[in-house]
Symmetry: C2
Subunit: 421 residues, 2 copies
């Protein structure tokens, strides 16, 4: 069961048509192929995994983004198979899917971005993919015709289509993650809607699992690029389930250009950036709330560092420690394991005497020893909660960061000992 | 159940008297205090944890080793309580224990090295410690009088005492880890005997859990220093259970000077170093064989790296990946997760096309794709074994390394969700 996964409801974004198909990649015949068809005015930015064994579609996305000047017309996502570790054959397949889509939608092939998520090291079922792509295209050409087909729900521009898409990109997720925010710009509503997926193999580096964020505002690809990078740093790049960085991580931000123009010169820009940041943080936290086996949502806040890098090092050392995570699962106020994790982060000249640690608002450790007012009972009271904040004060500078993580439970082991990801 | 934990039998070392006491630190009244009383000729070298929150006894050991020129007369080890995160009070207590021992044995206080292992963040029961120390001392003064006392077994110089000591330093270990090797030097036998403990919070950095190695040879502290550092690098610094570095890790090497003199100038030196390395590797691997929840013993071999650092980075990225470790637990030949772990190790300019991966002697991945002769059946056959070697060939240099690890099982979660370490 996800931990308090209560997102603001999703809203459709003008300039986006959606088709979803159960193409048969997933054995259970649920939706596994999603097409976002984007209006001609759309500009986009994207960030991808830094894993050296990046998947074939990630290689193609990078290639296309280098050539298309941010002009993106189609996002094609399949779940159930990651098309990673599949060599030249996998790359040629992904190229064929982009070409089929390009020809069917009559858009440049470089305007297509392909994404895959699921099992690593197996070739995609190519015929099923092509059949699914054809069905997606015939539907987005006639978006009024939303209907059940033999291959499953083929949806349209309405919110049902968005909900189906959010479900269609899932793998071990137990719930779809779709949410929206609206701001007013020049007297008009601007909608920001995003979806994310991912529950394991989560410690994004530069990007994350899969996340797609759309707005109907009109924003240049250059400005989308810069705002995406800064936003991802405090959202998708601030989460970890298991310290494992996927081969397929990607975050895409699309502005469909149907609404008002926005740029850093506009007075509404700060609100747009702030809203985008909140939306991305909600989607990133949603991944943690639905993490494999999660029974707790844990925030690790590190303050008083010399720079951001050392704050992140301490925060991830805690958030990735199997001993900290099993203690969290057991609701054990195990301050010793927190100290161990801070101490192993290899921070130069860290003065253990100046470090303090709090569980929730209870000060547990200071002056190199257990805090005088601390009792096991006060710690235990905090640990019983399903949302726990661990705060570390390093007392050597002004930098601060937050990282979000889950606990390590029997269900995590069961899920990953049973599931071939 | 440990995985094939079959060590060569232990032998007593001349120049070492042992006392073991159940002082009541451990709730189950098993032996929790061990004294090694060393002959006046003894010289020693030691390495300690790099965790910034190192325990009070580690601080004292470092202080004493800086002053004693390698002249060590007593090792005092308590299990059940780590005396870490205990601030000034913990340091004063440890100082008091060293002073009591120094006065009772009539040796300089700097010749005493104290060690603690167990729960972090709680003060030691000081009275019980002092009572235990007094009993240890009265016994080693009269080592013939091995007997059961009200505080438990108080042993002598014989092999029973060594076995009791190896058991007395355990925490979550399920079996004691004691082993010996003998070499011939100048027509005389030289014995090397070591013991180690540790089962979780294991990814030593510079040293490891607790390990004590004794030889009756006569070796200068300077030579002991250099041979210990190189030996530890390929033994205790090549293992990981859970990526967590303890606050209390220490390895001590003592030469009691009862046998022949050895130095790098002696023709038997290479054999001494090699034998010491084998002994330490056996003890380090014994920790992995008895790791918390272990059902497999996994060797990760990385070859063809540009330097040792990148080989270790790849090896530890695999050995610490929760997804790799759960796949190992499930006997799942999950090549994709191995690729993910190699790829996230952040090796500059790694060419994924040149990397190959084998499970046992079965080539699974090459040329950026699944190897042509590989089948799931061949992979599955390897994964069913309880000892598995994963070999990664980076094909970009001559460096190579091996790292030893265990799988991530339900028992690991149970042990660490139940045990306050």
């Amino acid at each position: 069961m996800p931990v308090n996964l209560n997102l603001e409801p999703g809203r459709a974004v003008r300039g986006v048509s959606i088709a979803t198909v159960a193409s048969g990649i997933k054995a259970d015949n649920s939706v596994d192929l999603v097409l976002f068809h984007l209006a001609p005015q759309t500009r986009a930015a994207a960030v991808f995994t830094r894993n050296a064994f990046c998947a074939a579609p990630v290689t193609l996305c990078r290639e296309h983004m280098q050539k298309n000047e941010g002009r993106v017309r189609g996002l094609l996502i399949n779940s159930g198979n990651a098309n990673a570790g599949t060599g030249e054959a996998g790359l040629q397949m992904a190229r064929g899917h982009c070409e089929a889509l390009s020809s069917s939608l009559d858009v440049p092939v470089t305007s297509i971005l392909p994404f895959s998520t699921g099992v690593i090291g197996q070739l995609l079922p190519d015929q099923k993919m092509h059949a699914g792509i054809a069905l997606c295209c015939s539907n987005v050409h006639d978006p009024g015709s939303a209907a059940e087909s033999s291959l499953g729900l083929v949806a349209d521009k309405g919110i049902d289509a968005w909900a189906a898409a959010a479900r269609g990109i899932m793998t071990t997720d137990t719930q779809p993650k779709l949410t929206s925010r609206t701001i007013q710009v020049d007297g008009q509503s601007v909608v920001l809607t995003g979806m994310s997926k991912g529950a394991g193999m989560i410690q994004p580096n530069m990007a994350t699992m899969l996340a797609y964020v759309f707005t109907d505002a009109s924003v240049s690809s250059e400005h989308l690029d810069s705002v995406l990078k800064s936003t991802v740093d405090v959202s998708f790049n601030a989460i970890t389930v298991d310290s494992d960085t996927s081969t397929n991580d990607a975050v895409v931000l699309c502005a469909t250009g149907q609404g008002p123009e926005l740029s850093p010169a506009h007075e509404a820009w700060p609100e747009f950036v702030e809203t985008l940041t909140v939306l991305c943080r909600d989607l990133a936290q949603a991944i943690i709330r639905d993490a494999e086996g999660a029974s707790k949502f844990i925030t690790v806040a590190v303050n008083g560092g010399r720079d951001l890098a050392e704050c992140k090092a301490v925060a991830y050392s805690i958030a990735n420690s199997p001993l900290v995570k099993t203690a969290m699962f057991a609701s054990d106020a195990n301050v010793g394991r927190l100290l161990m994790a801070i101490g192993k982060a290899d921070i130069p000249d860290l003065d253990a005497n100046k470090v303090s640690v709090s569980l929730g608002d209870v000060l547990a450790f200071e002056n190199a020893g257990i805090a005088s007012a601390y009792t096991e009972e006060r710690g235990a009271e905090v640990m019983q909660r399903d949302e726990i904040t661990v705060t570390v004060e390093l007392s050597r500078g002004q930098a601060a960061t937050e990282v979000y993580t889950s606990d390590l439970s029997h269900d995590y082991v069961s899920i990953n000992a049973d599931y071939r990801s």
